[in-house]
Amino acid sequence: MDAQATQADAGRRRDAQTAPSVAFEPTIVAFVCNWCTYTAADLAGTSRMIQKPNLRLVRMMCTGMVDPKYVIKALLSGADAVLISGCHPGDCHYINGNYKARRRVKLLKEILPQFGVDTRRVRLTWVGASEGNEFAATVNSLVEEIRELGPIETRGLKAL
């Protein structure tokens, strides 16, 4: 590859990264549990349900292992919202991980609004393994809600 082509290539890449998109597309990071919501997401996919493509799924073994720091990191890195989703109460594969997750989300919902982060940006839902339709509907309504809420403040902050 000659030098000129490489330079042009680098320029294009930079443009792509810095140019603000015209319409706001929410980026949502989702921590989902292997046993329920991930399986539901899989079911939604194999059932060809229509879902918005704004979610980035992270499969965890249990919502009980979603340390608040990962939620905070995602939001500070520009995620417009974080979804944590696991088994319904009483259905946890590890018996009580989802109850622990609920307390952690409660904690985050006390801390984050003090710094102007809308509590709607941290969502906890229960979606069981057979509820593919429920998962698709959750994703679609969350994306629209966050689209309405607008981009998170961290996207525009240069020094964090």
Binding site: Q17, Y99, R103, V105, K106, L107, I111, F115, R123, L160
Partner: protein, 381 residues
């Protein structure tokens, strides 16, 4: 009924009276060692484990100095068996922090007697040394105390007590076995030593101090002190909340942070044996930094400073006792204590939790109920 004993003060010297109390504990209280601040040189007094009564001559639990929270030291002395009982004569915030550590099995109450002395506050490290100058350490403490506990103006030329102490509404520790009263009392006459638990009763009985029915000055003076400090605290929280109401505001507030992690090291309730920020979990590759820089055209180094503080809030704010050692340890004078107390007030309220009050209150994130906090769960579909 709680027993109150009389600790006589000789020569207008309450520090010597407390030394006498500790001497009795070592000699006839069945106590193998006493952990308490001792003046070891010309600097600040350090928590010291004293086993020989002769070494108590420079012990000074009343010094207006607070170089570190002794809770972690006491945790070291009580995690596992020493075969002997020890007593800790400490500040209320140290005892409260120790209770939090004991709940997490990082220390144990089995072989320890917690002796809390009414806290009149302390200067931070720099200002204590300025306050003391070249004077004798014990005389400096006596000068600070004055005649009536809490009656003397603490403000000096351009400085005052540490910010944490000025807004601290816990001049006494509810979880102590024995309390020594100072607030509102004539420090040149006698001090009340009050047993708060059965363990404390047994200790007082062994010390052979005279039973006493002191006048009620302390309760009223304490209530006044707590009210004043609570007002100061609320004003401080309002100021801090206003400055940090947005993430941009928070970033500005923490702009001086160089990620030294001193506040974490100084924090008595930062309980992780290995902190995630001391591991490689958030170590990144050079190409990742380049990528992040390109997203916004620049990248502040060190990265993750706001992230670090927010993570600490999530991990320890429910246990924060407000001792202010984070601010004391900050090399760049970031007002960390103000921020953490502001957040902690809200998170502790959210879980209806008061750290350090009692071993019977479980840390909020160590328990759960089947039906609770239903409002944080969304039902979107």
């Amino acid at each position: 009924m709680t027993t109150t004993a009389k600790l006589d003060v000789q020569d207008n010297n309450p520090v010597a009276a407390l030394q006498e109390l500790m001497r009795r504990m070592l000699e006839r209280g069945g106590v193998g060692g006493v952990l308490t601040p001792v003046h070891l040189g010309r600097g600040t007094p350090m928590p010291t484990l004293v086993t020989d009564p002769a070494e108590l001559a420079l012990a000074d639990p009343l010094a207006p100095a607070f170089p570190m929270n002794g809770a972690k030291m006491l945790a070291r002395l009580t995690k596992g068996h020493s075969g002997e009982r020890i007593a800790a004569v400490m500040r209320p915030c140290e005892i409260r922090a120790f209770i939090e550590l004991a709940k997490l099995n990082q220390g144990s109450l089995d072989n320890v007697l917690l002796i809390s002395v009414d806290c009149l506050g302390a200067y931070d490290n720099t200002h204590y040394l300025r306050f003391k100058g070249a004077d004798d350490a014990i005389q400096t403490t006596l000068g600070f105390l004055g005649k009536v506990g809490g009656g003397k103006d603490t403000a000096r030329d351009g400085y005052d007590l540490a910010g944490a102490c000025l807004v601290c509404e816990h001049p006494v520790a509810a979880a102590a076995d024995v309390s020594v009263g100072l607030v509102g009392l004539d420090l040149t006459a006698a001090l009340p030593v009050m047993a708060e638990t059965a363990k404390g009763e047994a200790l007082l009985a062994a010390l052979e101090l005279e039973d006493w029915q002191p006048r009620e000055d302390r309760a009223e003076a304490l209530a006044r002190l707590v009210e004043r400090r609570t007002q100061e605290r609320d004003a401080m929280i309002e100021r801090t909340a206003e400055a940090t109401g947005t993430l941009a505001g928070l970033a500005e507030y923490l702009a001086g942070c160089v990620n030294c992690l001193n506040c974490r090291v100084a924090c008595p309730v930062c309980y992780c044996r290995e902190c995630v920020f001391a591991t490689d979990v958030f170590d990144h590759k050079p190409w990742q930094y380049m990528g992040w820089a390109r997203q916004k055209g620049m990248l502040k180094m060190p990265t993750d400073t706001v992230f670090y503080h927010l993570t600490r809030m999530a991990h320890m704010s429910t246990a924060c006792v407000g001792c202010g050692q984070c601010s004391n340890a900050c090399p760049n004078d970031v007002p960390v204590m103000e921020l953490f107390r502001t957040v902690a007030t809200r998170t502790q309220k959210g879980f209806d939790y008061e750290p350090g009050r009692s071993m019977d209150d479980p840390p909020p994130l160590s328990v759960f109920k089947e039906k609770e906090f239903e409002d944080v769960v969304s039902h979107m579909a």
